[in-house]
Symmetry: C2
Subunit: 483 residues, 2 copies
């Protein structure tokens, strides 16, 4: 690709503005296509005979306008999202509902969990993307040197070595988690479970995103809680305006949010919204539970700040785990529970007592050893590549009416299809051909919501079989719509 247009000298305004305008025009005209890489800053500076800083400023303008995006260690790209419209902001019913997962959804969950065929349903990452050998060696060493770890168990809040490492890592987003406020758990699901139990009673209303991860709906159902689904924007996450309204009358007892890369939308809440959300809930005395499991999966250059980073009063309960980023098989998570720390710690002791200490220590040593950042970079790049490849395939094979999210982090894509599409019926046809995905109805407590949507997971390595499965899914979708 060559951007060597006549140099934009002598025109009014700044040089970088005219350069940005020209590139924008080329993107608009399709001269440079969505997903295509732009020349490097150095190359463009030479081609156009302008300074490096002029190019950088032009790129910043284009980035701010949402036309291009930076990918770590790769360069600047024309944003793929331009290729397809993103899904629309959701409009769930404004009443709370007692969550009741019906049999259809239960069966779907069972079916799509099976690992046969081309599973695009479960949000699982390819096992070979984790540092399994390094962790294995650490684990063996620890149990060899301290065999008594097998013959004894400790009590919550968990090993201080791991809590210290977690606190140290929080400096990355400018936070400063207190090791004394952390409780180690058996995975993020247990973290959320303990957090919900700590701040609610059965029958209480909990405000959640919509669409929302079905694991959260399962939890609400099991705990006898009511869900209040809040409109959620595919790019900026839960609407704080809508939440402000919904929490006015005092009926909402807790809020559960994924501010960083919500599942299934891949949305990222802007910092201003985060700040307002945290402040609002603190003012209203409503505990704010944050599911932060995808925070390390940023596709850009910087790790986003968790809600906890805006919390000064201890009203935010940050829940996360290593199950997505480091060691799915260890089932080790944590809660930074703020002023609910004692209650969460007591509940952990009561429900599962403790999390295997040799696994906690293995993770602590891995984090201490410094290999974690390298691993995260590798994992993130693999996920970005897989997400983009899947996005491109969906754009290529799905009908033009399909709106597709391009997540800003994480590795799931949300597809919104015309209203008449029934993705549960589509799934039945697809399963018969060994292809699975997560139909939209799983992601709401309101029966029938998102029946025309579906979620795809790009956690697996990109292979010809995945491309073929998506092509076939596109065909099945065309038949479903027009057959």
């Amino acid at each position: 690709m060559n951007l060597a247009l006549p140099a934009a000298q002598g025109r009014s305004g700044h040089l970088y503005e005219s350069l940005a305008a020209e590139i924008a025009n080329m993107i608009g005209a399709g001269v440079i296509k969505s997903g295509e890489k732009l020349p490097s800053i150095r190359k463009l500076s030479t081609q156009r005979d302008v300074s490096l800083s002029t190019v950088m400023q032009a790129f910043r303008v284009l980035e701010d306008r949402g036309l291009i995006e930076v990918r770590p260690q790769s360069g600047f790209f024309v944003r793929r999202q331009l290729l397809r419209q993103p899904p629309t902001i959701s409009a769930p019913p404004p009443q709370p509902t007692l969550v009741a997962i019906d049999d259809v959804r239960r069966r779907i969950l069972q079916e799509t969990r099976k690992e046969n065929g081309m599973a695009l349903g479960a949000a699982l990452i390819d096992p070979t993307l984790f540092p399994n050998q390094a962790l294995q060696r650490l684990l063996s060493g620890i149990t060899r040197r301290q065999p008594e770890l097998i013959g004894s168990y400790a009590i919550p809040p968990g090993r201080i070595e791991l809590r210290r490492q977690l606190a140290r890592r929080s400096l990355e987003w400018g936070g400063e988690l207190d090791p004394e406020q952390l409780v180690i758990t058996s995975g993020c699901i247990e973290s959320l479970h303990l957090a919900l139990r700590a701040v609610t009673q059965p029958g209480d209303v909990v405000a959640i995103e919509s669409p929302v991860y079905y694991g959260i709906l399962n939890l609400l159902e099991a705990l006898g809680l009511k869900a209040m689904e809040i409109p959620t924007h595919p790019q900026t996450g839960m609407s704080v305006d809508a939440l402000e309204l919904a929490t006015r009358n005092g009926s909402v007892k807790a809020v559960l949010v994924v501010a960083n890369y919500g599942n299934p939308l891949g949305s990222l809440m802007p910092d201003a919204n985060k700040q307002r959300l945290v402040q609002l809930m603190a003012e209203r005395g409503i505990p704010l539970i944050e599911d932060e499991i995808y925070g390390d999966f940023y596709h850009g250059t910087e790790r986003p700040t968790p809600l906890k980073g805006f919390d000064s009063g201890g009203n935010v309960l940050l829940c996360s785990s290593f199950s997505k980023v480091l060691a799915p098989g260890f089932r080790v998570g944590w809660v930074a529970a703020g002023r609910y720390q004692r209650r969460v710690e007591a509940l952990k002791a009561i429900t599962t007592m403790s999390t295997p200490e040799m696994l906690q220590l293995t993770l602590a040593q891995f984090l201490e050893g410094g290999g974690y950042d390298h691993h995260l970079r590798r994992l993130r790049r693999a996920c970005v590549d897989q997400v983009h490849a899947m996005f491109d395939a969906v754009c290529r094979h799905f009908p033009p009416e399909a709106k597709v999210s391009l997540p800003q982090g994480g590795y799931v894509l949300w597809v919104e299809l015309p209203q008449q599409v029934d993705t549960v019926r589509l799934l039945q046809v697809a399963l018969a051909e060994g292809i699975s995905f997560a139909p939209g109805v799983l992601f709401s407590s309101t029966p029938g919501q998102y029946a025309h949507c579906l979620r795809l997971s790009a956690g697996g390595r990109w292979r010809p079989e995945v491309a073929q499965a998506l092509a076939r899914l596109g065909q099945l979708l065309q038949q479903h719509m027009h057959g």
Copy 2:
């Protein structure tokens, strides 16, 4: 010791009967003391010039009369329980109470959990009594050969290899657990938690033993359940008669029982009671949750049958784990949930997802390898020795009014003191000298119940420091009573 009395020839009745009567008289007269070992059958046969079978029959008569007891690989002993009266059968209030652990009890639990000083409070076993090295080698081998176990996680019900081994082990008590009915959990507390959740709603009444393990009270409290405490006999466990009465009006929604070696009493429910209990609950349609964590800790020669062994209709949910018998640090347990299997499996998926697979496989291989029975024999013998040593020390140092249980299995002793004794106050004095125990108030949902009782754990190795602590505790008790 010499039992060479004049030979009992030519008297009416059987020879073995007169031999038994003579030995009984010697025990009654204190010629042979409680806890003392009887001569071997062979030796006695020679001494008394009677056949081996005559001696064996005499011993059986004495065993049936509760005067002597057999200890595996050790021989026959005069029953220690003769030395002290056992505690009385409990008489809890006949109304259900919403469980609310008060701050005093919460603080006591925290205090007695600390591992400083001479901790006789927590029911923990010495870590060196477990095959830690063997398990370490298996675990290292498994993760070395299958590093992908670290990078992935499976879904419930858990590894089939472990479920098959558990099913195979059930043959030992004549059972036949179905691997398909088993759900692997993260320890017995999680097993009980899932079982209770599977069969109750908040506000329901659950019938439990009294006194009862405080972990069960914590669970009931966390789940918003009411406790109906049932009178419990220190030797035969929960009174089935009382339970029959309590479950007549339909208000009891579930029963939670430790039939084999209840904690804190060490009671063992006779088979006839077990059969009646299981049948009664099946008839009344009340799910029966069995905490079977101490079943392998029998002090006699045979493993007792769990309630599950009398269950033909799937109404019993057997809960257990390896945390007491094999690998406390692994946190691996199970539920044999009968007809509640699907519900328990779904709840496991919802609340903690799964239990680390490499730990499940390590246990499966250990069980398959055949070292388990050898380990259990060694562990049981250590516990029996520790329990008897502690019983003797209590008899020696505690005031004669103290009634003491001699557990038929497990490793905790229950001490019932005169009504005016306040074991919470005694604990405060003891803690100041670095000695802890579990005061009786922890073991009931009714405030003040068992305030004159205490539980001692004999899970640690018997050492001079333990003997000294018990002697000192006896002194403190004397001062408390008479000071």
